[in-house]
């Protein structure tokens, strides 16, 4: 059960090697979280992530999960929920792709879209259903500021996050009053292994800062969280910039 400050005792991470997810898990373990499930494709990195969290004192288990195999989601997640209540599901998987290459090779672009959008739609619906039947819990979905407006430099990734973001908002409304809390997290540029090859954007942030914002959002039962918070204002302004201007902006 969550405590008075919204901190979960049990956490299911979808995308168990995500740096943001692991930073969040570390933060929550330092407070109350005792049980962590890391779901992801079996890999040494996933096991290493689990070992790192175990060292902090949590009971951590890994579970094989593939975003690109939606048929399996019901079974895989069903097994996790059968082991006991999950107070928080953190949907953190996603791939950035390589915009230039993906434009040349549409199948790669489709893979980005399937992972970030359709895979997430399936996993989120399965997770939300399980949370709803236990009458409580938070579904936290990592969206991105890239989904707010299409940018020349990463619109394939951006469009997948736009879809996920819109889907999650709707899901949050659908679940309003069911005891399930749905929160969209929109980080800006996050310094992580996903972005090491990219040029840093303004208002860049860190996985730890996103984790802090998630913890605060849980306490407040927020529906939308921007990281850093100032991005909300910046993006409100950028949303209204005419396209002819926006496309020339160095963002």
């Amino acid at each position: 059960m969550k405590d008075a400050f919204g901190i979960p005792q049990s956490l299911l991470v979808l995308g168990g090697t995500s740096e943001i997810a692991l930073a969040t898990a570390r933060r929550l373990i330092a407070r109350r979280t005792r049980t962590v499930w890391l779901a992801g494709r079996p890999s040494p990195a996933l096991e290493q992530s689990a070992a790192d969290l175990r060292a902090l004192g949590a009971d951590v288990r890994t579970v094989a999960f593939d975003a690109l195999d939606p048929e399996s989601h019901e079974t895989v997640l069903g097994k996790v929920f059968a082991e006991g209540d999950i107070d928080m599901v953190l949907l953190a998987f996603g791939i950035l792709g390589d915009q230039a290459r993906d434009e040349r090779e549409p199948l790669n672009a489709v893979r980005v879209a399937q992972t970030n959008y359709t895979g997430a739609v399936s996993a989120a619906l399965v997770g939300a259903g399980a949370l709803q039947s236990q009458g409580h819990g938070s579904l936290v979905v990592l969206s991105s500021v890239a989904g707010e407006r299409a940018r020349r430099a990463n619109f394939i990734y951006g469009s997948s996050k736009a879809g996920l973001d819109t889907f999650t908002q709707g899901l949050g409304d659908a679940l309003h009053g069911t005891g399930v809390h749905v929160m969209v997290v929109r980080p800006g540029f996050v310094r992580s292994k996903m972005t090491t090859d990219l040029e840093e954007a303004p208002l860049a942030t860190t996985p730890e800062a996103v984790a802090t914002a998630i913890e605060l959002g849980l306490r407040r039962r927020s529906e939308t969280v921007w990281v850093p918070g100032r991005l909300r204002l910046v993006m409100s302004a950028l949303r209204h910039v005419p396209r002819s201007v926006f496309r020339r902006l160095p963002v």
Binding site: A4, R32, G177
Partner: protein
């Protein structure tokens, strides 16, 4: 019997969850509800005054017991009442006062049910004399997990597990209570100020035994030499002979007409109660109190239940809600109490409902909270930054000193500390496993703390 899926939270409004709310109107309906509650179990709920998640059951059934609210029999000669568990103390007082009887123990609100009072084994300002609520329960009827109704007498394991058992042993249907005789509905009250915590503890230790009721409001925002300054109010029921002949009070000694102000709106902002405002309130409240006044006549409601005058007063904390923290440490642990008061004051917790009390002897309930010593209760807005970690640190201090926190107020305790705080927890778990092997009775509190 109506059933709706609704969001349920405690009085602190911090962690709402959804449950099927069923309001039985007969014992048979209660039995049916318990038998058919499904895999996520059920938990009885009274008037929802537990601050945390004690009367919530996410995804399961919550039994609203306020539909069972009959007073069955009153023995006016011996002061014994048999009533349903859903009867509120407010109703009992209304019924009993004109007969010259009063509830044996009342908390800071009349808006609790008899069932809730037993389940949380509540205490009042008279704990140092009268113990907790369960001391005055002669017997009770319990609807257990097998769907049967049992009469449970004192000095049985089931009785001691049920008093303070947070509703996890079964649904209390009726209780037989021993009452307190009174001659009037007035209170004779002595008020005095204590300039700091040591002064306060000295006064309580020296003269508490002269009074049936005793409590101290404490200013936790005062700093420096004033740390722990307090206003003590102590008193007893006014005897009839103390009222002058011919006065209205004498003609109608059992008058009981508590007034109510309008409720605060439900949309207040989270930060309404900030440090500055509360510090100012505390300053005025302290200054307003007389240095020493004796023999003042007060109405029952003003003395026992001042907050009942404001319905939904919990809304003043805004939608973020608030946390109540109450702990007790034994006699001889005064240093721990001093340290905690100092830390709360240094942390600048905007708390205006802080209360210090000296507990008397403990009662046998396995999870009953009071033990002889000092108890401090304080309210803190949940939005206060760093509050979770701060209270965790206080827990460590309390547990190290052999103390405990109050489950009826808890919404955030670390489960690992529970066994140290409640040494009979294992017996409680064992009894539950025996009388409720399928886990029919379960609450969010029970899940959170693995009770």
């Amino acid at each position: 019997m109506s059933a709706d899926t609704v969001s349920v939270s405690g009085w602190g409004r911090t962690a709402p969850t959804n449950a099927r709310l069923i309001r039985p109107r007969t014992y048979e309906e209660a039995v049916t509800a318990v038998r058919g509650c499904g895999t996520r179990g059920s938990i009885p709920r009274g008037l929802g005054r537990a601050y945390g998640d004690a009367a919530q059951n996410a995804g399961g059934t919550v039994l609203d017991m306020t539909g069972l609210d009959r007073v069955h029999a009153i023995d006016a000669d011996n002061g014994i009442v048999l009533c349903d568990a859903g009867v509120s103390l407010h109703r009992l007082i209304e019924v009993l006062l004109p007969l010259g009887w009063f509830v044996p123990v009342t908390p800071g609100t009349r808006q609790v049910t008899v069932g809730g009072a037993i389940g949380a084994d509540i205490h009042g300002k008279n704990h140092h004399v009268s113990g907790s609520f369960s001391r005055h329960v002669l017997s009770l009827e319990l609807l257990t997990a097998d769907g049967e109704i049992h009469t449970v007498g004192r000095d049985t394991p089931l009785f001691d597990a049920t008093t303070g058992g947070m509703g996890l042993t079964g649904v209390i249907l009726t209780a037989t209570l021993q009452l307190q005789p009174v001659e009037t509905s007035l209170m004779t009250v002595d008020t005095e100020r204590a300039r700091d915590l040591d002064d306060l503890m000295a006064r309580l230790t020296a003269t508490d035994d002269h009074y049936r009721y005793s409590v101290a409001w404490i200013d936790l925002l005062a700093r420096g030499t004033a740390t722990g300054r307090a206003v003590l109010t102590r008193g007893d029921h006014t005897p009839l002979e103390a009222l002058r002949e011919g006065t209205r009070a004498r003609r109608d000694p059992f008058a009981f007409h508590p007034s109510r102000l309008p409720a605060p709106p439900s949309f207040l902002p989270e930060r309404l109660l900030n440090r500055r405002g509360v510090a100012l309130f505390n300053e005025l409240w302290y200054r307003k109190a007389p240095r020493a006044r004796t023999g003042e006549l007060q109405r029952l409601a003003a003395f026992f239940h001042p907050l009942d005058g404001v319905p939904h007063w919990n809304r003043i904390y805004g939608r973020g809600g608030f946390v109540q923290y109450q702990f007790v440490v034994g006699h001889g642990q005064e240093e721990t109490l001093r340290r905690i008061v100092r830390r709360v004051s240094e942390h600048r917790c905007p708390s205006f409902l802080a209360v210090l009390k000296r507990f008397g002897d403990a009662d046998p309930g396995w999870l009953s909270f009071p033990v002889p010593g000092w108890t401090l209760a304080l309210d803190i807005p949940a939005a206060l930054p760093g509050l979770g970690a701060f209270l965790d640190a206080l827990d460590e201090d309390v547990a190290t000193a052999g103390g405990r926190v109050y489950l009826a107020k808890d919404s955030r305790l670390r489960p690992e500390l529970l066994a140290a705080m409640y040494p009979r927890l294992e017996e409680f778990r064992a009894l539950r496993a025996e009388v409720d092997p399928r886990g029919v009775f379960v609450s969010d509190l029970a899940r959170r703390l693995s009770l």
